[in-house]
Subunit: 195 residues, 2 copies
Amino acid sequence: MNEAVVLTPERILEVTEDVLRRYGLAKATVVDVARALDVSHGSVYRHFPSKASLREAVAKRWLERIDGPLRQIAEDAAGPAPERLDRWLRTLFAAKRERVCDDPEMFQTYLTLAREACAAVKCHKDGLIDQMSAILVDGVKQGVFSVTDTKATARAIFDATSRFHHPAHADEWKDADLPARVDATLALLLRGLQA
Amino acid sequence: MNEAVVLTPERILEVTEDVLRRYGLAKATVVDVARALDVSHGSVYRHFPSKASLREAVAKRWLERIDGPLRQIAEDAAGPAPERLDRWLRTLFAAKRERVCDDPEMFQTYLTLAREACAAVKCHKDGLIDQMSAILVDGVKQGVFSVTDTKATARAIFDATSRFHHPAHADEWKDADLPARVDATLALLLRGLQA
């Protein structure tokens, strides 16, 4: 092993993503990952006891990278809630759109991994709903939103914006009229929240 | 040919649907349709000059059956617009959901045919947006809706309800919490339209 680099789970996941990008999901093996790290595959298994657990960890890491910037917006309770909710949603849409446009093949790989890791995906989605709920609660406190059930409303917003963040609609994200459609939908939803 | 039944395009389409249901899309041929009608395949070609035109007509017929009940709601200008819009949307969701739940295989067949008939589908979608626009216009006249661009808003409502009518989400339509999610989304959207 390269002595200069300590074998952390994070390092393994980084290299696993490279390997997936190079060989594709169907062909990439733990041995390929170990070889790329210049370690024995036993060293990889010490951190990830099975190929399945490694795949799940890659999916989780991908979801967390989408999650991070969103959480920042949700937790920044200082700003006016409508502007924050609008920014939060647009950040979510952009994150998905960039991933599918920049590297469609890796997007498909991550989608497949995410489908296997359904517990992690559910947790990710619940987390997103919680973040939106927090913004809604702030908006109610600020007197700008009128919402009775914040959780159900957050979920309704998530559902009502599926076309812009759900991977089943990825083919439609390159449409020239997408920005106008996002604007119209967000305007309608924010109006529905107004106190 | 059975002398008692006149060979109309409608009769051919009816039998074509039976044949598709029996043999599946991949195997069904125009000869099968002719045989089921007890006519020569030339008689079928007189009405539909190619297999493609027959397939397109089946797709259009399917779309029209979804369209009919919706148009009635849209054109019944007497009722209060919010109730009509709510009913229109729920009728659309139910039409899609029933089709996929009652006969998933035929739903897939129709979807494939619809994908081929993209001009007909675009026309169908534009028609749905127009119907919603008409309800929005009525609502503005009734003083219950505040909408500046009715067409863009109708499209936003269509987009915001994709999860409940777009076939890409068909797998989610059996979820136990679907009715509650529909209610929450429609409540939010109708609130966004309120004058």
